[in-house]
Amino acid sequence: MNYLNNFNIDSIKVIDKSEYPTKGQKKNKVTENIDDLFKELNIKDGSVLSFHHHLRNGDHVTNLILKQVQKLGIKDITLVASSLFPTNKELIPLLKDGTIKNVVASYISGELAEAISHGELKGNIIMQSHGGRARSIANGELKIDVAFIASPSSDDKGNISGVNGINSCGSMGYAIADSMMSEKVVAVTDSLVEYPNYPTDITEDYVDHILLVDSIGLKSGIVSGTTQVTKDPIGLKIAKDTLKVMEASGLLKEGFSYQSGAGGISLAVTSFLRDYMLENDLKGGFASGGITGYLTDMLEEGLFESLYDVQCFDLEAIESLKKNPTHLRMSASQYGNPEVSAVVDNLDIVILGATEIDTDFNVNVMTGSHGMLMGGSGGHQDTAAGSKLSIIVSKLFSSRIPLIKDKVDVITTPGTTVDVLVTERGICVNPLRQDLIKQFNEAKLNVVDIKELKEYSEEIMGKAKPIEKTDRVIGISEYRDGKILDYIYEVK
């Protein structure tokens, strides 16, 4: 359209009849031959390949594709995976032989994470939040050559649906930015269905190729194992106190919005919240995040107006997404991208976990008590920053692993965005939130200073020896806006 500002528009030539278009079918997108597909994809040394984690520990696609890359002798790949799980331990040899050079992820656990902690990557590991990942892909900072989208179902043109097919996973929020921004997009599916495949999570205009495989995953691994309310009386006490915190904050009013993780205590909070809403005839606006059956029940009971779903944690959530029009899909960008208007910015309350927290409320959910990678931000950073009230729920005493430290191993979420910590031995409030301290004292909650709680826990448990690390930095913990929060060190 470079003729828009051309004043001599009549000087532009009109095409000749011989150049007129012909009708005809476009090229077939579907192949079952991975070797042929790879010839077309032009993946070379240093290429950037992306994957999503909606099939979680049941995913077969990431391992399958990367083993093909290895077979072809391609080296120095940057693996951009929204999350990596124990099933990805099959990729450890690919770190050693140089097939995979860098890893960019929002969560990583299992033996692959441990191998990376021991310095097996030739390059670096970059840990992002879900919103930060979407931001860096959407704004072009992280350029992806080929996105391989594990697709529970696709038609022959590439309309992908997460709710159809034998390995349905529900919402596909983490794959949306990849499908829109990658140089090439391959739908990998085991369920080729009639055109048009709907409801569509990723539409055909974004999909270049469809690879038909025997199986994209194992259903039993797709459903998360953490979606049960805790039965532990200490966990239940924490959950009850958390409800009191929410009530005292004054945010539990008509139309409030809510998110919680899928950990046992967080789910218990959701369960107590449901009872509270029924008793007090209280109706919420939306609930968001990874969605569980607990939330879809509340949607169907009319306790929430709608659900914003970036990923389904269980089968009930997948069923609900299929049938309930107010169970809404959201992309990771809509969820938490800090450069655009996002759902987290409308959140009143979020309930989160922590592996460690320091006396400035900085949280680590990335490394465990041995200093090894075993998690990641996921939406932790995004929701803590966006919500009006971010609450960390955790046991103070859990198998002698210290919760409160002078300094956390790796900062995942900055303390300036964390408001409250609820433990079985008291409620700590960030000094930045004097308003909450006042409200909680008026409500006669057991508010304690986080430094005092740390000293008390050290009296009982003893002071832990610091985790031994080498001086070698193997990666960084990135904040959602792309700034560097902390280094990740190699473990001895």
Binding site: F397, S398, R400, P402, A464, E468
Partner: protein, 91 residues
């Protein structure tokens, strides 16, 4: 002075607990510790066990520990229970 004269165990391998196993020694204290928090608290755990054995006047025993993050009072209680069970004379 109590003497460990038979195999005994106390505790469990549940979270926050510790399994203590004892058997007659070879003339001294032989202590093997496995713990999920060995890096952070290995020395503390060892000291608690040796102190408790000393308090109970045990000088000749083989002790095998499988710790799942027990706190000091749990460790002491399990060690003492194990001593009672291992030092009971058959009647």
């Amino acid at each position: 002075m109590a003497v460990i004269n038979k195999m005994a165990k106390a505790g469990s391998v549940e979270s926050n607990d510790i399994l203590v196993m004892m058997s007659p020694g070879d003339g001294g204290i032989d202590l093997e510790i496995e713990s999920i928090v060995y890096n952070q608290y290995g020395d503390d755990i060892k000291k608690t066990i040796l102190d408790t054995l000393k308090e109970e006047n045990i000088t000749d025993v083989k002790v095998i520990i499988n710790d799942k993050g027990a706190l000091d009072f749990t460790i002491r209680a399990r060690v003492k229970a194990c001593i009672r069970r291992g030092s009971v004379q058959d009647v």
